[in-house]
């Protein structure tokens, strides 16, 4: 029996993973540790005066009703963004998977938006739907709709979800298309011969076989909605009107960077980190059971 045929030296495998480990340590664990330390401190923006305040930053955070509103809002936004962009991307992928003339062109065009940075997405949509700058908002107003996301919180929230979901569609589309093309055609043919109609074929054959992709994308999308949407929020609404588009990450940014309140901002980051760890844990513990690889 030979177990370790490749690595003769004991040190070599460690040496080979060392660069990767170093990157993870420097770019993930070190900043995470810094955030934890910072969350116990009270410090001015310049770092000139520092005092250790134990859990004060956390206590203040949990006393703030606005924080819980932001938690609920973030979960709502995340699910709305994930579900809408996933379902729309799946629809597009199924359609683009058909043998069509020029399907490569459609596919390429559908992938494009992913290359756009979140703040640019925000600006793009602002040019279409800003109450005074927007091209579409003129038509909306002409049609008698009182379109004003500057004052209507629901409209503003809808706008953020729309822009954030739009950007993610391309990414999801890419994975769905790859997933669809990996399903052997013979399975469909067998189902078709058994007399299953397209809708039934989709729900009983395609969907289960795509489930690993869907699960992976669900995790990625929720993480995206949690962390990556703040650029969109910052350019589109700055959290307004009122606080109706302040999410947890945006609050971290505005308290820490705009407000110079690094302690509270760090405490929020730590809470956010724990939340995402728990959320991902739940997904892998419970949702993954429904997934057939």
């Amino acid at each position: 029996m030979q177990k370790q045929a490749i690595f003769q030296s004991k040190l070599l495998p460690y040496a080979l993973v060392a660069p990767q480990l170093a990157i993870v340590l420097i770019f993930f664990y070190w900043p995470a540790l810094q955030a934890v330390i910072q969350s116990f401190l009270l410090q001015d923006a310049f770092g000139l005066s520092t005092s250790f305040v134990w859990f004060d930053n956390y206590i203040e955070l949990f006393r703030d009703p606005a924080y819980f509103e932001a938690v609920v809002r973030t979960f709502f936004f995340s699910f709305a963004i994930a579900i809408s962009s996933l379902s729309f991307a799946l629809l597009l992928a199924v359609m683009a998977d058909k043998p069509l003339r020029g399907s490569m062109l459609y596919r390429t065009l559908l992938i494009w938006p992913y290359a756009v940075a979140p703040p640019v997405v925000g600006v793009l949509w602002i040019f279409m739907l800003h109450p005074s700058l927007g091209v579409i908002s003129r038509y909306l107003r002409a049609a008698g709709i009182d379109w004003n996301p500057l004052l209507d919180g629901n409209q503003a929230a809808g706008l953020i979800i729309l822009a954030a979901a739009w950007k993610q569609i391309s990414y999801n589309f890419l994975f769905f298309l790859a997933g669809l093309q990996a399903i052997p055609k013979s399975v469909f043919e067998a189902a078709a011969i058994d007399g299953a109609r397209p809708m039934r074929r989709f729900w009983t054959v395609t969907f289960p076989l795509l489930s690993p992709t869907i699960f992976f994308l669900l995790v990625v999308n929720i993480v995206y909605a949690f962390f990556d949407t703040f650029g969109i929020i910052d350019t589109m609404t700055r959290g307004g009107p009122g606080t109706s588009t302040v999410t947890l990450v945006y609050k971290v940014y505005s308290d820490g960077l705009l407000g110079g309140n690094l302690g509270s901002s760090a405490a929020q980051s730590v809470v956010l980190m724990i939340m995402v760890i728990v959320l991902t844990g739940i997904q892998f513990r419970f949702v993954e059971r429904k997934v057939t690889y």
Partner: protein
């Protein structure tokens, strides 16, 4: 070896060839700023002119993004130990900079230590008051200053047969008439909702925004802008928002296009909007002083400034400071101030420059360019109109905007919204007080 020699020789040849001053003995002075477009050109020209005027120092201007970005970049650089020499900080960052004793070098100290000629009396008090201690010690050097004015579309007013309004009730009436005349989405509006409708409104009516001379006399200041004047003003706006005689245009200046496009014929925003209006408006326009409530005794008082000032960062070698001081003296020169004033539309900071611009007839064709100066110098500043110095001002404004938006959306009454804005703001001020260096 030979190659390295060649490289050095080439570098020398290049330097000489480009006619630059000898590389030795030139002290570099880093200047971080947030100016774009035409104003960026002004900055580059000022730096180039200064560099050409002497051989000992070289000012290097660097664009670091918008105001908050520039400030954050400076703070991050300071924490990392390589702050620039000069940092342009917008007026709302004043308290944060001031609280950072040790991180900044007050301008009056810098000038005294380096022996530069410097008399704070030469500068317009309405401008320097904002950046000085209550003892009159200038902490930062005013660079670009503006104030709130009311921009008016003369053509549309004429069409609707409306006189230029002077008081708030007249503005409301004008808005209604303009709406009736076809401006059904916006009779009047404004940018920077808290600056115009809380900060400037309070100063213009000699009413406190917060205790301790609006924070100038100490960080233990308490917000007081939920008084009858501010509540009444917000109530008026809420009422007019319902019919769109007034239409909210956002927290920052993204709504300014509504004026230049002709949608809103009356628009309150910064006097620094001039450049855009001139470039884009296809109608006759002017800028007049902010309106006031005639039933408030003593109104109008004087307005307060917006814009930015230059902060000198601490912990640099003495020789660098000599250069910085020379550069500030260079900027204070009368002709140079007149140039900045004309090229950027920002206000001149010295009395002599203002007098000279006047003498040259600069305001004859464009009298509205003098409006912000007339507002600032309308009366001798009082405790309530000298300026503001509130910590965490950027975020404070966001919190106030949130509450104003709730009132305008009809979710809270004006009184409830301002009470909440005061309460939430006070919490943030106490937080700031805790961290401020004593």
């Amino acid at each position: 070896m030979a190659l390295r020699h060649f490289g050095a020789a080439a570098a020398v040849a290049l330097t000489v060839g480009l006619g630059a001053s000898p590389a030795l003995a030139v002290t570099e002075i880093q200047w971080w700023h947030a100016m774009t477009g035409a104003n960026n050109d002004v900055i580059v020209k000022l730096a180039n002119d200064f560099n050409a005027s002497q051989t000992d120092y070289k000012v290097i201007p660097t664009y670091k993004g918008n105001y908050p970005d520039t400030m954050n970049a400076g703070i991050a650089a300071f924490r990392a130990g390589n702050a620039p020499h000069i940092m342009q900080v917008f007026e709302v960052g004043t308290a944060t900079m001031m609280a950072a004793t040790g991180a900044v070098k007050p301008v009056y100290k810098l000038m005294a230590e380096t022996g530069e000629k410097f008399d704070p009396k030469n500068y317009l008090p309405a401008i320097t008051g904002y950046y000085s201690t209550s003892k009159g010690e200038m902490l930062s050097f005013p660079f670009n200053s503006s104030s709130t004015v009311m921009w008016v579309n003369l053509d549309e007013l004429k069409k609707a047969n409306v006189e230029i309004p002077k008081t708030w009730p007249e503005v409301f009436e004008a808005g209604k008439k303009l709406k009736a005349a076809g401006h059904d989405t916006c009779g009047f509006s404004g940018s920077w909702v808290t600056w115009v409708n809380l900060e400037q409104l309070s100063a213009w009516h000699n009413t406190p925004l917060s205790s301790k001379a609006n924070g100038l006399d100490g960080f233990d200041t308490v917000l007081e802008f939920n008084g009858p004047l501010q509540v009444k003003h917000l109530e008026n706006l809420v009422e007019l928002q319902k019919t769109k005689v007034y239409d909210y245009a956002g927290r920052t200046n993204t709504g300014e296009g509504r004026f230049t496009s002709g949608e809103c014929p009356i628009y309150l925003t910064s006097s620094a909007f001039f450049g855009n209006v001139k470039a884009q408006a296809k109608f006759n326009f002017t800028a007049v002083p902010m309106p006031y409530y005639p039933d408030v005794k003593g109104a109008p008082q004087n307005s307060i400034i917006g814009g930015a000032s230059l902060w000198v960062m601490g912990g640099k070698p003495a020789d660098d400071y000599k250069g910085v001081a020379k550069f500030l003296t260079f900027l204070s020169d009368t002709d140079r101030q007149v140039y900045i004033h004309k090229a950027s539309g920002y206000l001149p900071i010295t009395k002599a420059a203002y007098a000279k611009a006047k003498e040259e007839g600069f305001y004859k064709d464009q009298p509205y360019l003098e409006t912000p100066l007339l507002e600032l110098t309308n009366k001798e500043p009082t405790e309530n109109s000298r300026g503001l110095r509130l910590g965490n001002m950027v975020q404070l404004r966001d919190v106030w905007s949130e509450e104003i938006e709730q009132a305008l959306a009809g979710k809270k009454t004006a009184k409830q919204a301002l009470d909440a804005a005061v309460e939430r703001g006070n919490t943030m001020l106490r937080q700031f007080e805790k961290t401020a260096v004593k």
